[in-house]
Symmetry: D3
Subunit: 235 residues, 6 copies
């Protein structure tokens, strides 16, 4: 049920059944010495596909680029707030014009300005149209698992993210899980994250495992499906 593989007639037919349409959003961002820079995208796409299978949803091609503040690292490619906001608004308007009424935006990347760009687009579109939009990062759910086996301060490129990637794309996870603790001033606005966190890991990834990753992914997917069912009244 990938939108990009369908013909326009097939999509036309499919929309008549009032399907959920999922837009995966990622980022191109450093993820330590062990994870590929596309990790945020890969996780969002994975979740989107699983939900699609379970709920017969249509999955749009991903937006691979997001807003990230880690762009003084090599390999990170950040697009601006305006670019992200506009591309999302244009996509939403295109969908609405064709009669789509249920939209889920799932972002593998979760930072404030990035999510705000997606939220602004969604707000404006919801205000003017009869459409329901759900917007979240899968990390809004995954981070609920911090606190028991997983350290409370697990973060960017840490155990949750590494484990999830081990479950999704094991061949792309490298063994070099170097970690160096960084200390950014509280509430301080900085532009040199590569100095603060020279290895690109914000929390220690050691202790990650594929099994844990599968558990987390399942948790995210099951919980998300429940919320989707409630919000969109899908049985």
């Amino acid at each position: 049920m990938e939108w990009n593989f369908m013909t326009f007639r097939e999509i036309e037919e499919s929309i008549k059944n009032d399907p959920l349409v999922i837009i995966p959003v990622g980022s191109v961002e450093e993820h330590g010495n062990h994870l590929p820079v596309g990790s945020d995208s890969f996780q969002a796409i994975y979740v989107a596909e699983k939900i699609s299978e379970r709920l017969n949803a249509l999955v749009l091609p991903p937006i691979y680029y997001g807003y990230t503040e880690l762009d003084d690292f090599k390999g990170t490619i950040s697009i601006g707030f305006d670019a992200l906001y506009m591309i999302m608004k244009d996509i939403l308007n295109s969908l609405i014009r064709q009669g789509v009424k249920k939209i889920l935006i799932i972002s593998g990347h979760a930072s404030g300005i990035h999510m705000a760009a997606l939220k602004r687009a969604s707000n404006e579109v919801v205000r003017d149209n009869m459409v329901k939009i759900m917007l979240l990062s899968d990390y809004d759910i995954a981070y609920e698992l911090r606190g028991n086996l997983i350290p409370q301060d697990d973060s960017h490129a840490g155990i949750i993210e590494t484990s999830r990637m081990m479950a999704i794309m094991p061949e792309k996870v490298k063994g070099d899980m170097r970690f160096r603790k960084g200390e950014k001033g509280n509430f301080l606005v900085v532009s040199n994250y590569s100095t603060v966190y020279p290895e690109g890991t914000f929390s220690d990834p050691r202790g990650s495992s594929r099994e844990l990753g599968e558990k987390i992914n399942n948790y995210v997917i099951e919980k998300l499906i429940q919320i989707i069912r409630d919000n969109f009244c899908i049985s």
Copy 2:
């Protein structure tokens, strides 16, 4: 050599060798009853990968969304000039900041405003930086083959495009190659292409074949590699 599968350290190392970086751009656009709406993206990605293999180039994740005027067809998703221009400009600036000096933008979609958005971003970036950028649609080259076996007026979703897709992604090409000739007033600005070309084919796709597609793809790739070598002084 897919950027998104590499870690930031691997990209850092790779950039030291002054590689060519390729940005594939597509569109989500109706392509008749036989081709998937992602066809433009798939062709650009295919060409990018082939060139990458031959020239050790890095391939960025594709921009799947483009500007298209065919957005009164279901299935078509168009983003605006500003969104496309901005996302490309932001990506180019990110690349340049990390030291990339050779960039190829290859778009599977070739319409005027779409290409102008990419061109504007490229112009502005070239003016202010020491970087070489090549920008083209693979159709700028593929359409050179019109006139002999291929009709002079071959166009959107016609023989060249269908044959190429047969060679790249045969399982996604449907057999229903309906064609209905349309007639738009010369130079007239219209917004109802689905009325003018009700089947979404601008020229007749019948007569397409995988063999022809392979020939066209090879022609595009060989010619493109030659031009790249000349422009970027790559041996």
Copy 3:
């Protein structure tokens, strides 16, 4: 030490001592039947003044208007992301041109898009200049107190906010603390908050008191002063 009450020469002299400059930001937003719509501004201004007294900081005139999604309530006045981002960026650039090097932006309003607008302006300015900027909502600190005496889900116009306002501006707090629990779908983007929370209170304000408010305000101010000292190396 209010900027607006000083002459340009007095400010010129003051800047030579490398002072902290504080920019209070608020919102014009419904706050239930008991709190004035300017509550966010009043709290930010109050904190700014207290810090100014303790650290000899200069306080800029407040930005009374912010971005709020509660604008289907009468009395709420929301400005857009662009307006808020631009006004903050212009102010920051003006300050930097005159030689200011330490800036604290404190917002009484804390919602995502609002904070992202302020963050974007700060990010861009920090990237291009030798300046330190701290950006936070006083609620980032105040909400640390949830969980003991204060309910874990205390929120907009609830006990913390009401108590703080009782301590700051008791004559403006009305007795009518009606509360009606609302239920918005998880992660659902909505534009009709006045239907979801018809009384404008997101959590129950009953149990608020001036004494509690003073404690909270003190906690916020002491903690904030400590962080400011650390970040800006002020003794």
Copy 4:
């Protein structure tokens, strides 16, 4: 009748009576060695409050920041045309959505681009809605008094402005009324006003008095009330 001190229900009730709503606009701008940089705001706020008392008008929180060309003086903080235009347009649209039909924008600052930003916002809003908007600087009226006791070329930080501030906020007016005549080329666009007018006074403030200030303020207020009554048909 300050909007910011009212609850949303009180505003809701008030709007039912079709009140005049006043938006005071100022600037943060050098005003010589004797007047505070907030002088423009203080005068606009003062006039707004007096009118509010007389006509039962609601007064919005002021916009303290405006566009000023004197920003090479320390202490001056200028926001751009776009920021000012957008914030005003967003406020006007918020008011209109809630049913406000009579709006007075009064700016203590009167320079061309600043007023044009407010005018553009007003124009666009009037064109699309059933609302009456009056826009002026109190100096459009105050300067009518030039020519008799007051020199014809009285200007920025001169006798009218100083006298008015003496009447409004005497404790903030300093005794140092230095004046140095400046000479800018006719119609020449300059960006170095601090060189042309090194003391920040465009005309000589000596001879100012509180009594004169009270007379001027009364003149402005009486005349303004008359015009408001005529324009909005308020008895």
Copy 5:
């Protein structure tokens, strides 16, 4: 000395002599039943040419379109603030890049937002470059003549404007000088000027003459040349 009639080499040579470059700006705006809608342009072009003859200045092709609030009249074509600001800024930057250092912008149209767009462009360019820019409407000078033979309230399409057009382009002035006094509320923002001034004349044009027009034009030109000489130190 019209820029548009010269080759690029001729312009290149001419710029070496550090010439004054004049940019005439007009509007397409109703001017009563007797004057053509291009009147503002024609007057600005006329003045530009006369100055060019006297001072060996280069004259750029005119910008025929401006911002006007009279656009509920048929025949009026108004462009927005942003369009006018951008076109002027782009032209100024082009000139500066080629080494032009003395620029005169002369606008036949004089309304507030229109002039503010030109002023904003000029301000921004002057701030960043070594260039002198003079900006005015010829009406800033022409209206100095009000008060003696010419009524104090002479205005749009009145005696000054009609007389000037009679001197510049007599064959385009019609005899039908209908006038109907209009009454717009003081400081009221309106969008229906065609209702307020149904004949498009803001003051009575009767009494206009070619002789008077020649006198006014001479006055404008002589005075302007004097100011130009002073500002640009041209002998």
Copy 6:
């Protein structure tokens, strides 16, 4: 039938007959050592006038400025995409508001981004209104004549353009037809055209003649009139 020479009443009357309205667009761009920089404008204006005579069309004042990449040549003045797009959109909207239903935009300049700016404005306006817009460069037609007497690679400032200018404005064509062949990398984005084509001629102008120019102009005009008649159903 020049719009700018008519009064608003005359235009009002004329619009009742549902006329074609023509908007000529040019550029200020180097055209070799023999042609004036305004050549693109002059050709578009000439064609517009001829069509106006034949079809009773109204001709708007030209937009003399366009987007050109040749702006490292002295004499070239380029405006940005946004400026050109906005001015055209504002003009189109003004025309539509007055009831104009048939619009022809004819641009003497034909480069990609320039045409895309005009196209974007046209697209957006057509989508939202009952109006027919034709958009083309006269070179879209003139270049059909390449291949017989005229070299296949005739281009900027070459035989077609020179001949046309000889027919339109012979006194402005200089004899110095220097040509130096340039070689820009295929699809390479460059910003130094004055290095690639030092004489500003992209193809050899020698062999141009007034007679040939008249033939080309006639061909363009006759063909254009036929297309206009077809598109707008004008007899």
